[in-house]
Amino acid sequence: MSIFEYNGSAVVAMVGKNCFAIASDRRLGVQLQTIATDFQRISKIHDRVFIALSGLATDVQTLYQRLVFRHKLYQLREERDMKPETFASLVSAILYEKRFGPYLCQPVIAGLGEDEKPFICTMDSIGAKELAKDFVVSGTASESLYGACEAMYKPDMEAEELFETISQALLSSVDRDCLSGWGGHVYVVTPTEIKERILKGRMD
């Protein structure tokens, strides 16, 4: 079994009309044993930038702490929040620093940029950025997620419809993956509010 599949994870982000949604599963396992059903994979960097990390749980947590550290210093020095594109470049640089002993996680970054334009991207564990206009996926359930998103995605969805779409895509994909599931955690972010919702799916 690959080390990326040690803990199990499913992460997806989608672009809507002046909004974005980012969702993850909640299972934390040690190979086949489930040890937690409320694991936090999505983290807020600031009100308009979110990052979700899939992969080895210890690296998920450590990398998140490092990124928050860097962003807080940036905020103090530059007296402004980081733009999502800038943050993605920073994550890519930090991951590549460990090119020959990498963090074993794949981040998904989502944010609202200038003029409320949503921005999403994903990268591999050594920082290869992949920008997308519609959706990005990551984790052990990524193949199912690709299929589900491709089928269900429509451009320019409003916040509520986007929430429905991303939730259905997530829940149907984790059902096909034994290492992820146990519910979902969805953030829908518009210029005016952040809505956080917990999904109840098949609890297995």
Binding site: R77, E78, M82, K83, E85, T86, S89, L90, A93
Partner: protein, 305 residues
């Protein structure tokens, strides 16, 4: 930083609490060639004298104004070699920032990093402070900005500033001429006049250097041909004021304010001279303690750009 033989700093406090080496560095700056910068409402201009030690020096090869990034430029007063080293370090820092964040470095951040380098050299083993003060001009998301960085590592944001030999005269001149809503071309005009104030000898495009950045966010050093154009404009407006009543110093300016006849003539002539309509404003808008009668006020408004 510095030689391994010296692990102690050569810049040490005097009993009065001063860092004497830094004071000496500032003296070195003060005896360097004059440079100045002016922040306009839509850009920044920096300029410097370029006095070469001999006519045999190829003036085109001497570049005192340098780019740090495409949208930030810098000029100095003091020791040229120290300036080159600082420019090299600053360019590297700007590029490192760009590589990390894929974003051009904001002017304040670059100034801060450069100032940090200069401060390090006042507190490290075996090194001396830099013998330059820098004027950094840039245009970023926060608009046009002008910063001065001293050998001690302190930096200030200025609306207009001068450094080097003629600093007190130049600053007094700038204090009088500076207006908040000045535009970039006005600022270049004013910069040339300020340089002219303390210039020994004939000012020409071969012995001054001017750099500007406008709302297009591209820093450019003016070519000698462009400098010649500006110099010609300065000459023209100087000639115009000379024709109309010899305005050259404070006394005569005050006379102009109160002597109605002369004042009328000036207004008419400045209408004829293109490109120098801005000139009358200096004389009348910022003079202190001189009363302007309502009729004069009317004329001032009429000629406002």
């Amino acid at each position: 930083m510095g030689d391994s033989q010296y692990s102690f700093s050569l810049t040490t406090f005097s009993p009065s609490g001063k860092l004497v080496q830094i004071e000496h560095a500032l003296t070195a700056v003060g005896s360097g060639q004059t440079s100045l910068g002016i922040k306009a409402s839509n850009g920044v201009v920096i300029a410097t004298e370029k006095k070469l030690p001999s006519i045999l020096v190829d003036e085109a090869s001497v570049q005192k104004i340098q780019h740090l990034t495409p949208n930030i430029g810098v000029v100095y007063s003091g020791m040229g070699p120290d300036f080159r080293v600082l420019v090299r370090k600053s360019r590297k820092q700007a590029e490192q920032y760009n590589r990390l964040y894929k974003e051009p470095i904001p002017v304040t951040q670059l100034v801060r990093e450069t100032a940090t380098v200069m401060q390090e050299f006042t507190q490290s083993g075996g090194v001396r402070p830099f013998g330059v003060s820098l004027l950094v001009a840039g245009y970023d998301d926060k608009g046009p900005q002008l910063y001065q960085v001293d050998p001690s590592g302190s930096y200030f944001s200025w609306k207009a500033s001068a450094m080097g030999k003629n600093v007190s005269n130049a600053k007094t001149f700038l204090e009088k001429r500076y207006t908040e809503d000045m535009e970039l071309d006005d600022a270049i005009h004013t910069a040339i006049l300020t340089l002219k104030e303390g210039f020994e000898g004939e000012i020409s495009s071969k012995n001054i250097e001017i750099g500007k950045i406008g709302a297009d966010k591209v820093f450019r050093v003016l070519t000698p041909a462009e400098i010649d154009d500006y110099l010609a404009e300065v000459e023209e407006s100087a000639a115009a004021t000379r024709r109309t009543g010899k305005i050259g110093n404070e006394e005569e300016e005050s006379k102009m304010m109160t002597g109605g006849r002369n004042y009328t003539r000036l207004s008419i002539d400045s209408q004829k001279v293109s490109g120098s309509v801005c000139t009358p404003r200096w004389f009348f808008s910022r003079e202190r303690g001189v009363k302007i009668s309502p009729s004069h006020h009317l004329l001032i408004c009429f000629h406002k750009r």
